[in-house]
């Protein structure tokens, strides 16, 4: 090893505290980058692979009943590659030893073969034998939730009749990677099932012999899906077609796309913040090293070392720190990546997940951190190299201080000499002070951000379940039913209040923008379903016009007062124009709302309801559910408390786990930054401090010169950090606005207090560590050593 390399290692060893601090920050950046990119890769690649290998359809259409012969006409539409007709129906089922109601969806597959589109990935067993009417394939997550195996039996209610079905196989489908019920946001594998059955048997059971009610299509390369959809809609309209749609309106695909979009944001924002901070820390550290090694650099130059050899030496020092950080980050990233992959596997079901670490990710991590470090150290290394050897040999001249306001003003003169030194130092090194302040402020802002997420998510769920969903049970009926059913419901055991609602699937159109959604019909002042404004205050349903979730209105580029075209997708397909009367600020889900009477009128029907919300006595609920379960008109029973638990678990698992990591990282960065800064300030002042000691200043007085500076900068940085943190939180709340949930921009005092406390704690800890050095300060050595 050359002597220069030995010097490199020894310098590194001498700076181990600071090196470790910086390496941790780099590691944090690399880790978040790796988690985001590997998760992104895993989801995107697994999804694409599954879609391709199992032929996911590109267009879906639903009809009431269409003859099989129509398939041929559909196949002739220009641009269509393949057509697959099928029967799809909602079902309810029972599993032995499981009390809660289970609902689900049953889909047909051709007798004795895989469908051409949306093929099943069989995980166990086999498809139903050709001609058998008593065999089904069940979805894997449902099977796992109930520990079902091929050969086990299910009790399924098909059109009000109990059927015993035997499980022949267990499968995954590219259509149900994210498997949720029609009105749900989150998977509930125990209470929502997807089943597949032979086409002939299912057609017979639902009176669709020789007919279909669902059709899938794939497109030829280059075909325009809008044109194909239009064409299909024209053909299917007479058969009760309610409008074909593409993958974007497939719930599973939509959730995957949202997750991918979210990970893309994360892959840029978090590593960006951490690596920028590490670049900043490195620049401070390297600047300091070059400053203290001026003479060593000069000597090396005097002995004929070339500029590039010296640049290489100092770049090598940076490279080693980066290497330590990257290795640590990759290790943590692999470890966390495993955990995250397991987590994703709970929500997204792929037959095989691509979790292999892509070399690309490692290269990316190294490149990005090297870039950040390079930016950080370039200036210092360039300065080291530019140093003329003869000049570097002389100690730097005393800095040029001038009498500023501190000396002139009365306040300034009244300050102690040491306090004046603190203020002058800050004033003299304005750029450096500003950078340090900025650094501390950035870490304070990370604390604000992390804490904001925690509180905002809790706030969001509280809002949803205390102010929006005030019912405890949500019922949906098989088909629109007369309001009279509400009287029957209120007579059931334990029911305290019943509120009926009407729900109509629609397409909301504004110019070229459109969204498939539903209009929910409500009474003027719904008691069990709150509509709230931005402050959480209830909004009455207007006599006329539509209310809409703000995010949905934004997607459609609509403002209150604008006309909206509503395409009704139930019964007859009609277009009506309705005015957007106002906006609703609910944090979860998207919907449109209307007075129930108006909606009934729009549908040209009597007082009908699609379902009901119940408020019931918790004691009587088991009995209530048993009775509801037996009611043939009830298609689904939603337990709000279960859904809330599910959501809280989901948030704990995903957003909050992420934020906990962020918070720990923010804390360590704060400490790394403040500690580094204190160490550097100490090293720069050591002669000055020793001189003061020799002149007879006490340890406390001398300590104040250093601590005062750190404290003052920290105190000044806190409000700046609050400001940045608020800004970051606002940006994040914008970035996290999507179909499933929107994090409200809501920061409370605790969040600010938390950030301030975090920064002050880090400062206090740094001060304690520095105080030890100050105590051990050897005046003689400090003064003798020539800088």
């Amino acid at each position: 090893m050359t002597a220069l390399n030995r010097k490199l290692w020894r310098d590194l060893a001498g700076l181990k505290g600071q090196v470790a601090a910086i390496a941790v920050v780099i590691a944090a950046g690399v880790m978040t980058l790796m988690i985001a990119v590997t998760s992104l890769d895993a989801i995107r690649l697994s999804m694409e692979r599954f879609y391709a290998s199992h032929q996911l359809a590109e267009i879906w259409a639903t009809v009431t009943r269409a003859p099989e012969a129509l398939a041929e006409r559909l196949g002739e539409i220009p641009g269509i590659d393949r057509i697959e007709t099928r029967v799809v129906a909602p079902i309810r089922l029972e599993v032995a030893d499981y009390a809660d109601p289970i609902r689900g969806q049953i889909l047909s597959i051709p007798d004795g073969r895989q469908p051409a589109l949306n093929r099943l990935a069989l995980r166990a067993g086999s498809p139903p034998e050709s001609g058998r009417a008593d065999q089904v394939v069940v979805s894997e997550p449902f099977a796992q939730a109930h520990d079902l195996r091929p050969g086990d039996e299910l009790r399924v209610i098909i059109r009000g009749r109990f059927e015993r079905l035997r499980i022949s196989g267990i499968a995954l489908s590219p259509e149900f990677i994210y498997q949720v019920g029609p009105n749900d946001l989150l998977p509930d594998y125990a209470r929502y099932a997807v089943l597949w059955m032979n086409r002939r048997a299912l057609g017979n059971a639902f009176g669709l012999d020789g007919a279909f009610n669902s059709v899938l299509a794939s497109l030829q390369a280059g075909a325009r899906s809008e044109q194909v959809i239009e064409h299909m809609d024209r053909i299917l309209a007479p058969y009760g077609g309610i409008g074909a749609h593409g993958r974007d309106d497939l719930m599973s695909h939509r959730m995957l796309s949202e997750e991918i979009a979210q990970l893309k944001i994360m892959a840029v924002v978090l590593p960006g913040v951490f690596l920028a901070v590490s670049g900043f820390l490195l620049s401070v550290l390297m600047g300091r090293i070059v400053q203290t090694q001026r003479q060593q650099i000069a000597v090396l130059k005097a002995f004929g070392y070339r500029n590039r050899e010296l640049a290489g030496h100092y770049a090598g020092l940076t490279a080693l720190i980066v290497a330590v950080g990257v290795v640590l980050g990759i290790g943590l990233g692999l470890w966390a990546g495993e955990a995250i992959a397991t987590l994703y596997a709970q929500y997204f079901r792929f037959p095989e997940t691509v979790t292999r670490l892509q070399p690309r990710v490692v290269v990316l991590a190294v490149a990005v951190s090297a870039l950040a470090a390079g930016f950080g150290t370039f200036r210092a290394v360039a300065r080291a190299v530019r140093l003329p050897p003869a000049e570097a040999m002389r100690p730097p001249a005393p800095e040029n201080f001038r009498q500023g306001w501190i000396g002139r003003s009365r306040l300034g003169r009244s300050l102690a000499q040491t306090t004046r030194m603190v203020l002058r130092n800050l004033d003299r090194h304005r750029f450096k002070s500003a950078m340090t302040l900025l650094g501390i402020a950035l870490s304070a802002s990370l604390l604000v951000l992390g804490s904001f997420q925690f509180n905002a998510v809790q706030h969001m769920i509280d809002l949803q379940y205390r102010k929006v969903l005030r019912m405890d049970t949500h019922l949906s009926f098989i088909e629109p039913t007369s309001r009279r059913v509400l009287t029957e419901l209120s007579a059931l055991p334990g029911v305290q209040h019943v509120e009926g609602y009407r729900q109509v699937p629609v397409r909301l159109v504004n110019g070229h923008l459109s969204e498939r959604n539903a209009i929910v019909g409500l009474p003027e002042h719904p008691r069990l379903r709150g509509l709230i404004d931005g402050d959480g205050q209830p909004i009455a349903v207007p006599a006329d016009g539509l209310l809409m979730t703000r995010f949905l209105a934004e997607q459609l580029n609509l403002r209150a007062g604008d006309p909206v075209t509503v395409e009704i997708r139930e019964g007859s397909r009609r277009h009506v124009e309705v005015r957007l009367a106002g906006l609703v600020d609910e944090p979860l889900g998207l919907s449109a709302y209307m007075r129930i009477e108006r909606l009934n009128a729009l549908m040209r029907e009597g007082p009908a309801v699609s379902g009901a919300w119940l408020m019931s006595d918790a004691q009587a609920r088991p009995e209530l559910y048993e009775r509801l379960w037996e009611a043939p008109r009830v298609a689904a029973i939603g337990l709000i408390a279960e859904a809330e638990d599910g959501l809280r678990n989901y948030m704990d698992d995903t957003v909050l786990t992420m934020m906990a990591v962020l918070l720990v990282l923010a804390g360590s960065i704060t400490f790394a930054l403040v500690y580094n800064n204190a160490r550097i300030a100490f090293a720069e002042r050591v002669r000055e401090l020793a001189t003061l000691r020799v002149l007879g200043f006490s340890r406390t007085q001398v300590g104040w010169v250093l601590v005062g500076e750190i404290l003052l900068l920290t105190l000044l940085a806190i409000p700046v950090g609050w400001l940045f943190g608020t800004l970051f939180a606002w940006i994040l709340s914008l970035a996290f606005s999507m179909d499933m949930f929107r994090i409200p921009f809501h920061i409370d005092h605790q969040t600010y207090a938390f950030a301030a406390t975090g920064v002050l704690l880090a400062s206090a800890l740094s001060v304690i560590l520095i105080a030890r050095r100050l105590r051990d300060l050897d005046m003689v050595t400090a003064l003798k050593g020539v800088e």
């Binding site: 310098d11 000069a298 000597v299 004929g304 070392y305």
Partner: protein, 241 residues
């Protein structure tokens, strides 16, 4: 004036060297036209008060700095107007430096400090041999902080001579040392000059040291004021201050 009985060849030749520093708005004339020759193998002591320009001249001759005007030749190479990389090459291959404050690298041992120079030299001694020449065979693996001032300066000399330079430039090598230690350092320099025939320049403001030189060059106000040839050289051990 430049007659030396042995009739050696001039390895350095300076003609009209000037150096002007710009310090803010003031121009400082450090050298105002220096004419000087250095001969192969001689030991020259440069004397002068602080501000006389002696360090500036040494730095320019050693290739650490460039003159504002004038001409400087080292053997066949014209150093005035040489590029930075040419000067680096020159320093690397031909010059050894010894500084007043030793300027050792604190994180490296004595042996490693010497190795810093030998690592990039074409035909160096072993660091151990260089340290033996200055009488430090026993302290190879000591760090600078474990060595006395005199020992540190001798490590610095070993570092300077280990690459077998043609020229040894010493800037106040005894300035930070007491006289006894200073004399031991001078003995080491004199030994190197004698044994390796390395052309040596010692800068000092200590008149006494002039007695060990072949020639004494006196600088004053940026010019060569006087050159004196010692007929009778004193050995370092005879020096007293």
């Amino acid at each position: 004036m430049s007659s030396v009985s042995r009739k050696p060849s001039a390895i350095f030749e300076a003609r009209g060297l000037t150096k002007v520093y710009q310090m803010g708005e003031v121009a400082i004339h450090a050298l105002r036209g220096v004419d000087l020759e250095l001969h192969d193998g001689e030991l020259v002591v440069m004397l002068g008060a602080s501000g006389s320009g002696k360090s500036t001249l040494l730095n320019i001759m050693g290739g650490l700095d460039v003159a504002s005007d004038g001409r400087l030749r080292y053997r066949d190479q014209v150093l005035s107007g040489a590029s930075e990389s040419e000067l680096t090459r020159f320093r690397r291959d031909h010059v050894g430096f010894v500084f007043q404050f030793y300027n050792l690298i604190p994180s490296l041992t004595a042996r490693e400090n010497v190795a810093v120079a030998t690592d990039i030299a074409r035909d160096p001694m072993r660091p151990e041999d260089a340290l033996e020449l200055v009488g430090l065979s026993e302290r190879l693996d000591h760090f600078p902080s474990q060595l006395s001032g005199g020992e540190q300066q001798r490590v610095a000399i070993a570092r300077a001579i280990a690459k077998r330079p043609m020229v040894l430039m010493c800037d106040e090598p005894t300035g930070a040392l007491d006289s006894e230690t200073g004399i031991r350092v001078l003995e080491a320099i004199e030994y190197i000059n004698r044994e390796l025939a390395t052309t040596t320049v010692i800068i000092t403001h200590n008149e006494v040291i002039g007695r060990m030189a072949h020639r004494v060059v006196r600088l004053s106000d940026g010019r060569v004021a006087d050159i004196h040839v010692n007929d009778q050289r004193a050995s370092p051990s005879e020096l007293v201050w």
